[in-house]
Point group: C2
Chain length 415, copies 2
Amino acid sequence: MIGGSAINVLIGQSGGPTSVINSSLAGVISSAIEHGFDHIYGMENGIAGLIEGRICQIDKKIYTEKNIEDKLKSEPAAILGSCRYKLPEDLSDFVYEKIFQTLEKFQISSLIYIGGNDSMDTVVKLNKYIEKNRIAWLHVIGIPKTIDNDLREMDHSPGFGSAAKYVATALNLVRTDVNIYNVKSVTFVEIMGRNAGWLAASALLSNYKKKRKTVNLLYLKEVEKTKEDILSDIKEAFKYENNLVIALSEGFMDKDGFFAKEDKKSYDQAFGHPVISGIGEKLSNFVAKELGVKSRSVELNILQRTSFLISKQDSKEAFELGYKGLEKSISQTNLVPVIKRKEKETYEYYIDFVDPLLIANKEKYIPKAWLESYRVLEDKIIAYGLPLIQGQVEEKFDKGMISFIGLDDFTKKAY
Amino acid sequence: MIGGSAINVLIGQSGGPTSVINSSLAGVISSAIEHGFDHIYGMENGIAGLIEGRICQIDKKIYTEKNIEDKLKSEPAAILGSCRYKLPEDLSDFVYEKIFQTLEKFQISSLIYIGGNDSMDTVVKLNKYIEKNRIAWLHVIGIPKTIDNDLREMDHSPGFGSAAKYVATALNLVRTDVNIYNVKSVTFVEIMGRNAGWLAASALLSNYKKKRKTVNLLYLKEVEKTKEDILSDIKEAFKYENNLVIALSEGFMDKDGFFAKEDKKSYDQAFGHPVISGIGEKLSNFVAKELGVKSRSVELNILQRTSFLISKQDSKEAFELGYKGLEKSISQTNLVPVIKRKEKETYEYYIDFVDPLLIANKEKYIPKAWLESYRVLEDKIIAYGLPLIQGQVEEKFDKGMISFIGLDDFTKKAY
C-alpha cells in the first residue's frame, strides 16, 4: 500500500455487453464489502474512462440497504459503461503514467477488469507495467465474459449461457409462429457470432427431446457450403416438413463467396456506402427466388445479449468469478478466474485461475470432431450447453415493463 | 339443431398471430365445457382448412385433466393454425355449400372465428349466407385479435397489450445496451404496424416517469417528415444526450419518398428481385453518412407477436372475450364481443357486443388530436396503454427454455 494501509478496489467493464457482466460486478463489490475494503470505485467506460480520470465511487451503505446486488443480477449490459480501447504496446507511453497516477491518487490496491479477449490484453499490459516498474501496491485481475464463448482456458465463458438460453427460446417462439400457415416456408434466424459458431450452434438446444425438430438446419462459418448445397439441403428437408426453420451464424458465408459479392454490388448505389445486409436476408431472398417458396429472415440482434432471459446458472457463475477474483487480488496479480467442468455424469464445475496471456487476443472454436455431422453436433451441443441455461433470474418489473437501475442509484462521482 | 339435440362448437383462428389468440381459444373451449357442449371441434388453418374438411376434435377430458387452459394462456401464435383466405363475395359460390355441408356433418351449432378485420369479413359472409338461406341451426360469432390495435368499435384489441408490453420492455433493454459507450450514437428500433402506428407509439410507454428518456424520438406513418426534418430532429436531440434511441414504425416513409426510391434502385441487381430492406436500415445508413455518427437499426421482428412477455391483463381480456363469445353464440348470431373502457380515473372495462360489419375490412387510427406534438402523444399513449400491459402471464419452462404444447397434445383428427 502507498501512504497508509487503505485497501481500495477499482472495477472496470469493457467490450460488448452480456446479460451477466453486472452479476460479475456485483460479485466483486459484494466480495470487497465482505473482505473489508475501504473504498470501492468504478471506472466509467473502462480503461478509456480511467485514462480520462472518470471514476465513480460505490456507496457501500446504499448498495447493501437497497439490495443493489440483486438488482445488478437482473440487469444486462455494462452499468459502469464500456469501451473498446487497446493500450499501447510501448509501456513507456504517457498513457500508462496517467493511469498509474490516478491509481495512486485513489490508493487503489486491486484493479478488477471484466471483459473478453481484447480486455484481457489490457490486463496483460497493466501487469507488464507493474512488473517492469516493480510496483508492489497494485494487483490487477481479469474477469472473463462474452456471449461468443470464444475465450480459451475455460469450459465456457460467462454470458454465453444466458445468450444461448435466449437463442434456444427465441427459436421455440419462432417455431410457434412459423407453424401457423399451411404453405411451404423457410425462416432463417440469424444469430450473433462473427468468428465462432458457439451461439448459433446453441440453437440446437431447442431440439432437445422433440419429436418434431424446432430447428431443421444450421449453417455455421465453420462448415463449408456452396449455394447449391443450401438449395439441396432445403429440398431434402421439405420432404419431411412444410415449414423450415434454419439457424444461421451471422459469420456464415458460402464457400464460393456468392453472397459476399452482393454487398459489393450494393456499394455504388443507395447512399454511396455499402449496404451491408445480413446473410439471413440474402439467403432468404435467394431461396425465395430459386425455390419459389415463402421465405423470410429474422435477425435476433442485440436483444441476444441484453437478454429477456438470464440463465440462473450463468448468473451464479459470473457472480462467483467476480467474487473469487476480488478475493484473489488481495494476495496475487496477473490472474483470471475461469470455470472448469468436472468430468462427471451431471454438470459440476470448479473455479481455477489462469494467466491472462493465455486468453488475450486469442479465440476458441467448436472442436472439429463436433462438426462431423449435424447429428453429432446436436448431441454434443446439448450435452455441453443444456446445463448452462438452467434456471431463470427473476426480472424486476415496474409498471408492467422489465426495468433497470442506473449507475447514479448507488454511486457518486469521485473526480 | 339438425337431426337431434347436439350442441357442438367449431373454432377457427385466422390472420397473423398474437400472444393471446390461444387465450381466446382457451376461453371458448372452457366456456363450451362449462356450458355442456357435446363436442368441441377446431378448424385446422381457419376457414381454408374447413373448406378442405380438416377438422380436429378437442379431447375435453385431456383438456381438463392436463390443465391445457393454463398452457394455452402462455402459448403465443395460433395453435389451430391460421390462414389468409377471403371468402368469395358471391354467396352461391360452391365453397359455401362445401362449408355448410361440413358444418351439417359435424352438427355444428356454434362457429367461433378468432381473427382481425379480414377475418371479420369471413364472419360477415357466413352470417349473410345463414340469413339468405334461413339457416336456424347455426350461429357464427367473431372474436377480435390483432397486435396492430387497428380494429374499430373497441377500446383496444386483444393482442395489442402484450405486443406493447414487449415493445416497451425491448426499448428498456435496448437502452441499457445503447448507453454503454461514450460516443455519439443513434439506434433505430423498427416496430411492426404497416398502416397504424399504435404499436410503434407504445414505445413511449418506456418513458413513463423517467428523468432520462428511454426513447428520444418517434417516427410514425401518421406524422409527415422530410429527410431534412429527421436530420434536424437528431441534431437537436444530440444537444441533450449522446446516445439516441429512435422508435420507428415499419410503415414510416419520408414525405418526399426519398427512402422509398432506394428500394427501386436495389431492384435490378442482387437476385433480380427487390431487396426490401426495412426503413430502419435505410434511416440508419442515411444518418451515419450525413452526420458521421455511429448508427444502427434493430428490427423487433416476429418476436413482437410471439411474445416473451404476455400481459396478464391482455390475456385475461382475450380469454373473457372467447368465453362470452361462446356463451352468446348459444342464443344469437352475427356478433363480436369487444372491450369497452369505462370513463373512470382507474382502468375498468366491460364487454359489449357489436355487428362484425362495423369491424370487417376497416381500420382504426391514432386520433388526430393525439398527434399534435410528441409530448401530447406521450401523455395520451401512457394514459391509454399503461393499464393494458400490467401483469405477466407465467411462462412454462422446460429444460431452461420457454416451451410449448402442440395441437396433438389435446386433440385428435376428426376427418
